[in-house]
Amino acid sequence: MADQATLDAVSIDQSEGNFTFPEDYKHDAGYGLSESTIDYISDVKKEKDWIREFRKKALKVFDSKPLPTNWATKDLENIDFDAIRYYLSKGQAPTRSWDEVPDDVKETFERLGIPEKERKFLAGVEAQFDSEAAYSNVKEELEKQGVIFVNSTEGLREHEEIFRPWFGKVIPTGDNKFSALNSAVFSGGSFIYVPPGVKVAHPLQAYFRINAENFGQFERTLIIVDEGAEVTYMEGCTAPKFETSTLHSAVVELVAMKDAKIQYITVQNWSNNVFNLVTKRGLAHENAEIRWIDCNIGSRLTMKYPGVIMKGRKARGEVVSIALANDGQMQDTGAKMIHAADETTSNVIAKSISVGEGCSVYRGQVHIPKHLKGCKNNTECDALLINSKSRTDTYPAITVRGNQHATQHEASVSQVSEDQIFYMQQRGLNEGEAMSLSVNGFVNDLVREFPMEYSVELKRLIDMEMEGSVG
């Protein structure tokens, strides 16, 4: 159990996230997206030709793919790709000391409590401000063990031999329109390598901050955990409340070699004008385990379906997902479990909460081909509706061929009734506290499985979101 100091240290007050500093950028790729945007980014980053070519090819794929409005919301059409700036940076390399971080950036992360968290319980931190990391540091003993924790530019430049073989392999450029967009203009994100047998005891954390309006953040993360090694990675995100909408479109690839374990935790609280369109997938080799814990609160639209490809025998994949859609928000989330070897096991537990006119959608895909034996999948999705205007949809797609597998699917929809709120209010809780308690109760069995620090953080975010939802 974490002590009080740790708990205080990890609580990021997201309401404190609604501030911004005047823009002062050395590098600005300008509005709109073309080959010259890519040349600009590649020039600033002094990238090798193969990366520049990778980007340009991706741009063609992006241009050629339609928006997925045949199955997803038409709200996607409101993204004006010409009104977005694709690269903004102050032109400074990330430092290893907070003292060297520019004052306004440092103040931003201090207000979000990041340096304090780092001192208290993290093994490494990367803090990204718009397109580039401002700060990046990993504990010395990990570095000595060969753990690499850098941003994408540095990862591809300094450790090409490690990262290039897996870069774009788990999620190919053409996976979807937004993975193509990210592949064209990616910047920042975390590139992590954990050598064989190294078990990183404390989490590594990245923090993504959008400061500028009309800006798109396209971080790219690749985590490779070698045989028998283990790591927990946590990402957090905020942006101020701008008048116009902002785009966040990340690609996250995980590779767990034989017997490796990766736990990837997201607790995000984007302001309600961010389009959050993220592709996340992991590749699990023999007896490896990949676990996504994905908590989506806030944003205007989130589309995200973390996946695991279980490529080796006895590999395990898990997605634990919590989505909270408040008034005017849409959370379109789910999971993809691709079984590609015998005796692989996957588990999906998704809980969504829809409040007011908020809308939650669960899309799940489980694929078990005929030639495999002894695969197992368990899928549970539960939805909680708060007031009658809320809606929720579930689209499970479970393809199981062959008869040597075990799958199980359960879904439920429940409602916080006025009577339930009345009961709680009669005991002295105000309406916001009562709704918050109902929501926390609904996700309680999942949150119990989180590392303590993050469950406290999530509870706080839910409390704030529910307090704010009372008219």
């Binding site: 009345f422 709680m424 009669q426 005991r427 809780l429 609904f442």
Partner: protein, 255 residues
């Protein structure tokens, strides 16, 4: 300074309709006393308790409810609770995933000034004491509020919450329904334990037998949205014997 829970000429409708349920009800429960309301189904007993608590399904069209010097009708549901009003529900609601211990703790926390935290050790000590009094198993604290509870467990839980929140005035709405005789005795003991010169109770019941255990100072008979007769505890026995028709007939005769 008045020292009672006092209802004057209370009229209430089902919200948004002209369906009248309470039709000029008068009632006063002084501090230190236990009053009982008995009455046939549909007389408006449960509505009265909900209106007192501030349930928005009903609209008060006339009259007043004062708790000492506080006008309850000016307060929201939760404000009434924090001001010292408690309602033990006839059908307590489930709150899935929220443990009973956390729920009561949240309710107590809501009574503290901002920034002040409950002393967890003192809280559990007090909680266990009261659970022992009500013969409740310690495992109960970890169970979700009312989820999968038997009827008796739900009612005990209501009484436990009442003991923990320590209200000035409490209304118990058919707390005896669904209880066997042993559970009834235990629940009554919980209430009797709380009785005192600074507390007032209003016990709504259908049956006389609860009043063998919680002996009332005054018994009121309710019919058609009004109190039609009041008397001492012998009135409850008389009702049991003769039925409600007797009172309504008597009323008609004197009208």
């Amino acid at each position: 300074m008045s020292n009672s829970l006092r209802i004057d000429n209370l009229h209430a409708n089902v919200e948004g309709t002209d369906q009248k349920i309470l039709k000029g009800l008068n009632l006063e429960v002084p501090k230190g006393e236990v009053h009982a309301i008995m009455g046939p189904n549909g007389s408006g007993k449960s509505t009265l308790s909900k209106v007192m608590a501030g349930n928005e399904e009903y609209e008060v069209t006339e009259g007043s409810i004062f708790m000492d010097d506080t006008n309850l009708l000016d307060l929201d549901i939760d404000e009434r609770s924090r001001a010292g009003f408690f309602l033990a529900f006839q059908y307590p609601h489930e709150i899935p995933g929220v443990s009973s211990a956390n729920f009561i703790r949240a309710a107590l926390q809501a009574r503290l000034p901002k920034g002040e935290e409950i002393d967890a050790v003192a809280y559990y000590k007090s909680l266990y004491e009261k659970m022992d009094l009500l013969g409740m198993d310690r495992k109960f604290t970890a169970r979700s509020v009312n989820e999968g509870f038997s009827g008796g467990e739900k009612k005990r839980n209501e009484v436990l919450q009442m003991l923990m929140l320590d209200p000035t005035y409490a209304v118990l709405d058919e707390t005896d329904s669904g209880l066997d005789i042993d559970a009834l005795r235990i629940v009554a003991e919980g209430v009797n334990n709380m009785r005192g010169p600074d507390k007032g109770f209003l016990v709504i019941t259908h049956y006389q037998r609860l009043l063998d255990y919680i002996v009332p100072d005054v018994v009121h008979v309710m019919a058609d949205g009004q109190i039609i007769k009041s008397g001492d505890k012998s009135l409850a026995l008389e009702l049991e014997e003769k039925g409600y028709d007797w009172v309504t007939a008597e009323l008609a005769a004197t009208a």
